[in-house]
């Protein structure tokens, strides 16, 4: 989200005899909670980590449109339909902000989309679960967006300026996403017995996958330690997961719904809720591509991109033909 002239990578390490000095300046800036901006010197690994993370985040936003868009045409009231359309639209917007942030490091959106479409870059596994009923829209808003927000709020202070700025905008816009989900579930929970059952079923299916959104336990997380030092990440996976559980338990009570975990109970000593073991086998399987919707999500994404190619080509061709007219008009 910075200027493109400023997007070009700032030289390579070989070009600079004084790499060590740059590195010291970089480390000091990060340690002092300063911000790194696009053309600043940065270690190659920092750059690579950021591009990977921002791209994955952007991909998650646009793939994440699908499970919810699945219900736009069936939304049961016009008010809900408007809310859902606005929300799915926001996700496209957030994808745009994040791709722009990634582009500040010199990787084009086209390149990133290509990596998504060919499976070389990932998106959040949560979107490989299906939305089977209308209540799933509520469960996604409350739990999935809730988990995302827990993850994202600390990213507003991420050491990389463009990422942090994108996240500020996203968090601001996303505050309505979680609330609409909660409100939707509340209406169902307090509605007819069938609606209540629909809400409970959705929460039963989304609870565990939401907990997995925080990533593997700290002792197994491949990238965590380095990302924490670089202040790309501010809290550990397990800390954030615990925070999320603590927030959700009382919210579920107010909803009149139960969370599907018999081990869930307040631990006076820790000052936190204890919760049961997470089934990481499922997490790994979904990550590997064996989730219920992996194939479907990617296929739809590729299809939209391929079917849109003629449109993008046409607009580019028109711009090339008419770039002189525009200048003449402006003169």
């Amino acid at each position: 989200m910075a200027t493109a002239a400023a997007h070009k990578a700032y030289g390579t390490e070989e070009e600079h005899a004084g790499t060590a000095a740059y590195e010291r300046a970089f480390d000091a800036a990060v340690a002092a909670d300063g911000r790194i901006e696009p053309r600043d010197w940065m270690p190659d690994a920092y750059r690579a980590t950021l591009v990977r993370q921002m791209a994955q985040h952007a991909h998650s936003e646009i793939i994440g449109m699908q499970p919810e868009a699945n219900w736009i045409t069936r939304a049961p009231s016009l008010r809900r339909k408007a809310i859902l359309m606005a929300k799915v639209q926001d996700e496209a917007g957030h994808g745009l902000y994040l791709y722009s942030a990634a582009e500040t490091l010199g990787t084009s959106r086209e390149e990133l989309l290509d990596k998504l479409h060919s499976g070389r870059q990932k998106y959040s596994s949560i979107f490989n679960y299906p939305t089977l009923t209308w209540a799933d829209v509520g469960a996604i808003g409350w739990l999935v967006d809730g988990a995302a927000i827990t993850n994202q709020v600390p990213l507003c202070r991420c050491s990389y300026g463009p990422y942090a700025r994108a996240m500020v905008r996203i968090c601001k816009e996303e505050s309505f996403h979680q609330r609409q989900g909660y409100e939707l579930l509340l209406a169902l929970s307090r509605g007819t017995p069938e609606q209540h059952a629909m809400a409970q079923d959705a929460v039963d299916r989304w609870w565990w996958p939401s907990l997995m959104m925080f990533g593997p336990p700290d002792d197994e997380s491949a990238h965590s330690a380095q990302s924490m030092t670089w202040k790309i990440k501010r809290h550990s996976n397990d800390d954030l997961r615990q925070r999320f559980v603590d927030i959700c338990v009382p919210q579920a009570e107010s909803l009149g719904l139960t969370l599907p975990d018999p081990d869930l109970k307040w631990n006076e000593e820790r000052g936190h809720y204890d919760f049961g073991p997470i089934d990481w086998t499922e997490f790994k399987e979904v990550l590997k591509g064996n989730g219920p919707c992996n194939e479907q999500r990617l296929t739809q994404r590729r299809k939209a991109h391929e079917e849109g190619a003629w449109v993008r080509e046409a607009a580019a061709a028109y711009a090339a033909k008419h770039s002189d007219d525009t200048k003449a008009e402006q003169a």
Partner: protein, 95 residues
């Protein structure tokens, strides 16, 4: 750039009259007209603006971090450019 890859534009939004345009972010568009429209749809959909500028990102010339010191440091030691540098006796008004 492939033939389907649209160039990048920087978007500046005036949030209300009386304020200057501020950098809001960037986007892709095939040409200036669409850049403006895409900017309107993306960056002002919650009523964030009353005016928009779009600039091709490639048209921006940026100062380099390498020149940071010669560019910006010399300004740091000239406190006499700031009003707080001067001592004025108490009670003197309208200064």
């Amino acid at each position: 750039m492939t033939n389907t890859d649209w160039p990048l534009w920087e978007v500046f939004v005036r949030s209300r009259r009386g304020l200057s345009h501020t950098h809001a972010g960037s986007l892709h568009a095939p040409d200036a007209e669409f850049a403006l429209r895409n900017a309107r749809d993306l960056y002002t959909r919650r009523g964030e603006g009353v005016s928009i500028w779009v600039v091709p990102s490639a048209a921006i010339t940026a100062s380099s971090p390498d020149e940071k010191d010669p560019f910006f440091e010399p300004a740091a030691d000239k406190p006499y450019r700031h009003p707080t540098f001067y001592e004025i006796p108490e009670g003197v008004k309208h200064l």
